[in-house]
Structures are given as C-alpha cells and as structure tokens.
C-alpha cells in the first residue's frame, strides 16, 4: 500500500532551478512513485491532490509555504526520501552547482545516469532524428515521442538501431510501458506477464486497461510507430521487439495490435511471431482469422484481444437495451456520429460497425470504410484537427464544438464518444462532456461513451464513469461494446 508524506516549510522560498532539481532528485529516490516540490497555492494543492500526493498536512499549507509531497511504496522508502529532501532544504546539496543539475544534453545525461538503456526523445520533429541518432550511438534504445520525422529518417534510424541490436519505438510513439513503468500517455496498470506490440497510442491503452479489468497485467507495451509495418520500413522495430519479448522469461504471451501490414512485410512478421516460442494473439484491424498463420490466435477487436489474453469475458456494465434506447428517438434520427479522441478507438469502432453491416466513413478510414457513408466517425486527434491546438486527450474541450453540432443535427441518432484517461490526459474529461450536454435540448441524440482507464489512473475510471452517467450518457464497458450498441440502435432506426 502506498504511503503519502507531506512536509510543509512555512514562508520558505527557493529559486525555481533548485526546486525542479530537488523534485527530480526526490522522485528518483528508491521506492518513490512520485514526488513534487511546490508552493501551496490552491491550484497546486488541487494538482497534488489529483496526483494522489497530498495529505492533511499539505492541505493546510498556504500560498507562501513550500510543500514537499511524495508517494512511496513503503513507509521506510517514504521516510528515507523525505529525510533526503529535508537535508537538502536545510543547507546541504542544493547549494552545489554541478552534479545534481538536470542534464542539458544527452551526453551529460548518460554521464549522470550511466546505467540508462533507453532515451525518450520529445523534441520538435526536425530535431528528433539528430537526438535519436546520438542516443543510438550511445547504445541506448530510443522512444521517439515526436512526430514529423520523415519516412527516410525513420528507416535510417531503425536500420542503425537494428544493426546494433537496439530498438526504436516510434516516431509519434505516444504510449509505452517498459518493465511495468508507464511512459508518456499510458494508464496506471499492474505488472503482469503480457507484452504488447502496437503502433502506439490508444489501441495499446484500451487493450491494457481491458486486460487490467480482467485481472491481467502488462510486462512491456512497445509502440513501434504507425508506419513500422509499412513495406517502406519493413517492420524493423516490430521484428526487433518480437526478439526482445521472446527472450524475456517474464513475458508469458505476446499481443500484436495493428492495422494491416504491407504485403511484403506481413509474412515476415507473422512467421516470426508464430515461431517465437510464446503464445501470440494478433488483433489486426481489417484481417479475418484466415489471414493469419496457424499458431497465432485471432482477435477481431481490442476487446476480443483482451478477453483472449485473460481467458475471461468483459461483463457488460449498462443495462438499457438497444430497443429501449431506440424507442426514445424520433424516427428521423438514423445516423451515427463518432467523435473520437483516440485514433485506434475510432478504427475499432469502424470495424465493429462494418461487421454489423453498417457502412462508415472517416477522416481516418479503417479498411472497408467508404467516402459517402451515412455513419461518420471522426478521429479528432488527427493532424487536421490538432494543428495549433492541444490534442483532445489533453484538452477535450476541443471536441465540444463538434459535439454540439452533432447534438443539433436532426438526423443523428447516436453520438459515440471515447474518454481516454491516464497519465498526461486531461484531469476531468467527463465534466467537459457533461457541460456540453447540460446545454442540450431534452430531445437529442443518444450519447454512448466508453472510458479507457483504470481506477488507479489520476482521473479514476469510476469517477469519470459516474460523471458521464449523471450527465445522461450511456457508458459501455469498452469501445467495442459502445460501437456495438450504437450499431444496434442505428439498425433499429433504419427500420
């Protein structure tokens, strides 16, 4: 069970560089899950509370007090870390200038942490290649969070990595879990024996949270980037990842989540998976079971992948039938409008609706989508919607205008939405949806949602679900269920 300790220094001022350096030092201490040093303003106290770092002592701090807040795995670890913090504050290490400073370059980072074996690159895309090359030269595996890395640069980086037995995750790798540690946008999921290879992002997140709900856990989740399985790249990172996971004795099974690989690449990937010596589940959107070689279990959706991996079934969590819901709608309402913050969730919903016989269109079309179908599913995280704006996972209010338009559309029967929780995501996306619905007329489309998250996430699955339900949203157990229910309603409305 986690232990939270707060130390409050009344009227204590420290310059920002020292504060940041000390925060990083304490957070890196053995057994410490998270730590921060902040002045006790109302806003910061709310943030610390949301992060599970505030206790009653910290709550009493004022805006002129410094709060040291940390959460550790045990009381011993917490006490050791707080003692270290107090020693620094009382005139020790903070006055020195060299070794504790955050490293300004990759080389100095390697000097400071010689045991590091992975570098996370998050720079503007035009600089990411240079930094990634430098990291590879240092013998580091690389996670490239940045986007806007050219295809040629991606191929060159991955070839450089492969020739040195290293892995490049990304570019545009927004989510990863390595050794149970979440990197970038990931959910708070327990460690377990399952390893995932995915493009990046919400497919990986949805799978990991569904597996968690079924009692499973994640050992590694590797985002290889959305283009890795294209023939231009030739699955270099996917193939390396399979080797790494196959060699890891703690990995019990491997799950692949992807769009269809390039024709020249698919065989190499599936052959390697089939012969890796571990059970493999493949969720390849647009594939059917016959497309996979023997020895690989097929999953048509993320839900099916999680259920297969856990050998259990996700229970439905809402009781209203499609018939009962359709009965509340005017007969002119026939269309589904999907407004997604997660790209892979948008893809999965398209697949589910098509499997139900419903034609779909999208700005991020799944295999089989057409251009003029009645049912429209939009990936609001796509570049054309995020140019100059925050990603809707970070700021869900950017979805509000589209949501209001869908509410006002006389022919929309169902609005499908997702909420993605976890580290880095908005602290309360449900309230943003609830605010938009509060202003909606009584006669409006049915809003069906799924929440990609766990109760250990900073936002709490339970709280977000309750907020949506209080706002009149039908909340399904997962994205596939939400799309399934929407499809059933649309079929009933079509008569």
């Amino acid at each position: 069970m986690s232990v939270i300790i707060n130390e409050v220094r009344k009227g204590f001022y420290l310059d920002s560089v020292a504060l940041m350096r000390m925060s990083a030092d304490i957070a890196a201490a053995d057994g410490v899950d998270d730590a921060v040093l902040m002045i006790g303003t109302p806003s910061n106290k709310q943030i610390m509370a949301d992060a599970g770092l505030l206790n009653e002592q910290g709550e009493r701090a004022s805006a002129n007090d410094l709060v040291i807040a940390l959460r550790a795995g045990s009381e011993g670890d917490a006490n050791r870390a707080i003692a270290k913090a107090k020693k620094s504050l009382d005139g020790g290490t903070l006055k020195s200038t060299g070794s504790n400073a955050l490293p300004p370059t990759l080389a100095s980072a390697c000097t400071q942490l010689p045991a590091a074996n992975l570098a996370l690159i998050s720079t503007p895309g035009s600089y990411a290649t240079r930094e990634a090359k430098a990291a590879l030269r240092q013998g580091l595996n690389v996670m490239i969070f940045s986007d806007n890395v050219s295809l040629a640069d991606e191929a060159a980086l991955k070839q450089q990595a492969a020739s040195n037995g290293l892995l490049v995750m990304g570019p545009d790798c927004g989510t990863a879990i390595i050794g149970g540690r979440a990197l970038a946008f990931a959910n708070a999921v327990p460690q377990g024996g399952t390893a995932v290879i995915a493009a990046s992002g919400t497919g990986l997140q949805e799978f990991s949270v569904l597996l968690t709900r079924l009692g499973g856990g994640i050992r590694h989740a590797i985002g290889v980037g959305g283009r890795d399985l294209n023939d231009d790249i030739g699955a270099i990172s996917t193939l390396t990842a399979i080797d790494i996971l196959a060699a890891d004795s703690q990995v019990e099974q491997i799950v692949l989540i992807s769009k269809p690989p390039g024709a020249a690449t698919a065989n190499r990937v599936f052959e390697k998976l089939a012969n890796c010596g571990k059970p493999v589940i493949a969720c390849v959107f647009g594939y059917d079971e016959s497309s996979l070689p023997g020895g690989i279990q097929y999953a048509g959706t993320l839900k099916a992948a999680a259920e297969t991996a856990a050998n259990a079934t996700i229970p439905a969590n809402q009781t209203q039938s499609a018939n009962a819901l359709a009965a509340t709608l005017a007969s002119t309402r026939t269309k589904i409008r999907g407004l997604y913050t997660g790209g892979t969730l948008c893809t999965e919903a398209q697949i589910v609706l098509q499997q139900a016989g419903l034609p779909v269109q999208s700005n991020a079309p799944a295999p089989g989508a057409t251009t003029n179908a009645a049912h429209q599913l939009i990936d609001l995280g796509a570049d054309e919607y995020t140019m100059g704006k925050p990603h809707p996972m970070i700021e869900p209010a950017v979805r509000t205008e589209s949501l209001q338009q869908a509410i006002e559309s006389a022919d929309v029967a169902v609005i499908l939405i997702d909420l993605v929780l976890g580290y880095g995501a908005h602290q309360n996306p449900a309230d943003v949806v609830a605010d938009a619905l509060a202003a909606a007329p009584a006669e409006r489309p049915i809003v069906i949602a799924s929440v990609c998250g766990t109760n250990s996430d900073p936002q709490s699955l339970q709280q977000q679900t309750a907020s949506l339900q209080n706002a009149g949203v039908i909340v399904c157990a997962c994205n596939a269920d939400a799309a399934q229910l929407a499809g059933e309603i649309a079929q009933l409305q079509a008569g």
Partner: protein, 281 residues
Amino acid sequence: MASASARHCGAVALRVLEAGCGETIAVFQSTAYLANSAGELLCVGPASMPPGPINLCVERETLLLPAPGDSWSFDRRRLSTGNQRLATIDNEAIWHPPATLQPQADQLRAGLAIALPLLRQLETLPSLATVQTTLHAGLAALGEWQSHDPLPQRAIAILGCGEGLTPAGDDILCGYLVALHCLGDPAAQQLATAVKPLLSTHTSRISAAHLSAACEGAAVQLIHDLIDAIARNDRDDTSATITALNKYGHSSGYYAALGATQAIAHFTNSGSQTRNRSHSP
C-alpha cells in the same frame, strides 16, 4: 566599499524604496527580495538582471546580498542594508514600460507566425502532467473569455499553478496581461480587475508582486521586447528575444512568452474587435 549606481530601477521598485525602510524576505543565488512596511516587494540583483517594474539592477556583476530578515533603508536615494550601501539611484535609471503600441493586425499575424514555431521548439514539460493539463485548459479558457463575463474557473485555476518560485500559470497570466495592455485591448483592465483580488490568496507573495505589476501593464523588458518584435514582424528580434526569454528563470520566460503570444493570437483573431465594440458607447 562605495555604493554602485543602479543601472535600472523599475517604477514599482522605486515606490517600494520610497517607503524608507523594510525587511529582506528572501535571498537567492544572485538576487534578493526586499519588502516595505506596506508589504510591497522589489527584487534587487546584478546588472545582468533584465530591467522590469519591480527590479533594481545594480551596476555590478555580483552583489553582497543581505540575509533573510535583514533590514534595509533608503535615504537620499541610497539603498543600504546593514552597514553596506548597496546602490544609489539616479533619475536616469528609473525604468518605465514602453508606451502602448499601435498594432496592425496583418503585422501581428505575420509576427506570430515567426514566434509560435520558435516557442514550440522550447516547450517544457512540468514534472506533473496535470500541471500541463491545467495550463492548457486555462489558456483555452482565457482565449474564450469575454471581458464582460466572470473569469472562468479554468482560467483562475492557472493562478498559482506550477512548480517554481513564480508558478508557470502566473508567468502565463503575466505575459497575457502585459500583451493585452501593450495592444491597447480594454480586456487587459477587465482581466486585471479579476486577477488582483485573488493575488493574496492564490499565489505566493513574490509571484503576486510580479503579477501585480503586470496588472498595471508592466513586466520585465524582455516581454515588452517580444511583443514589440512580433508587432513589427521582425524575425531577427523575435528570435533573439525568445532565446533570451528562454534563459530567464527556469521556465518563467518561456511561459510568459506563451501567455503573450496567446493574447496576441486572441487579439488578432476576434477578441480585440469584439471587446472594443463591447466597450464602445
């Protein structure tokens, strides 16, 4: 040791000193904050410190700073702490913020197109993701805010939000306020009216001192330089100023620049016209 001259002394700093005496409340590596009996603050530091409304920049590379709790006095234009004469302030050293600009929307848009990509390259992530989330939400709320409405909760939430001596949210508000003021947007006064009553409870005393000056339209010279460079659509000056701001504080300069550019973007899009009309007789 003879006292040095002040290179710059902000108008607010001079007002603090003119109270005659006070106490040192905080001391850092190269700067110290002095308070007068009314609780107003100034920041005294070396010549390398940028000019600003509450800054007293002394013409020396390093200063022998007082200790927390030390008293100070100001007599015949000389600031002393203990037995040490710290600085003499001549009239020529008094710093005031630049006059309000006469912006042209096209120039501002072009200037922003230079500044925003440069700022994106410098994006800095706080250690807690929720800080970033709160800041983004607050910026969005400020962008949507109409000055005749109450300040949205999400905008208020950035006040005092973030790590550091001056939280990132305060730095953003500082840049936002000053940019609106420099552009002559009447929303500056409305925002200042909404922010001022919260300063004593929602942020630290030191950060409140900087924000209070921003409510009057003044921040460190670098922010004014950035706004001016954008308004002139001057690529070299914009780049140089952003580089300098990025070195100001741990991330204060970056966040203040972010706030300023957001205010300019809002001004150029629709805010200024709407606001100006809403305040027209």
